[in-house]
């Protein structure tokens, strides 16, 4: 995987570029896990940014 692509995915996963999964299945699972974490933390209502609570 191209290093710059890996850096972008690392940003989305909040991990080091070296920790980005190389397989499609691993990447899908990592993205789903990251979103599950965010959903669990979300305690905001309409008009309030989730990112203020993270």
């Amino acid at each position: 995987m191209d290093e710059r692509i890996k850096q972008r995915i690392a940003y989305a996963l909040k991990c080091e570029p070296s920790e980005v999964p190389e397989t499609q299945e691993g990447l899908r699972a990592a993205l789903d896990n990251r979103r599950s974490e965010l959903r669990a933390k979300k305690g905001v209502k309409d008009g309030q940014s989730i990112h203020e609570s993270l």
Binding site: D2, R4, I5, Q7, R8, I9, A10, Y11, A12, L13, K14, C15, E16, P17, Q24, E25, L27, R28, L31, R34, R35, L38, R39, K42, K45, D46, G47, Q48, S49, I50, H51
Partner: protein, 165 residues
Amino acid sequence: MANPYTNPYEAVAGREISSTSEGRHVNIEEGTLIHPFHADGLVDKGDPVAFFDGAGVALRSASATTDSIPIDVEGIWRLPVTNTGLNAFATITVGQVLYIDAGGVIFDDWTTSFTVFGYALEPIDDPADALGPDFNNGDPITKVIAVKVHWMWPWWYYIKVQPWP
């Protein structure tokens, strides 16, 4: 096949590559495309795709990673869109910005995305509040909706040089 735009015999400044008034279809090597996962690992016709800041819809299927794939970077397409409920409003509203992730999923929240994909032209309920046919027990809702595709820069990647922790 190498980059379809690289041609040392045609490298003349001011020479138009697309037809006049065109340019919404670009040709990108399959190996550089982010697209939904498939058993053969190659992009399929109709897939939403991303290529660094760029995004669009594949106009043909690939048979190898070296294939040059025409991508429509504008237009209105019916595509599967997932509302995770993570966006600021929880719902997806007509006109709301959509993103594509590194697995080729079009969805609502920029924090886990790869780049901007376009704009929703049909709504999707908040997963937490969804009733009736959209009821999904709080889990993300995926529906095929009309999407205005648009190639736009993902501003958040350009705010920090080294964004990861």
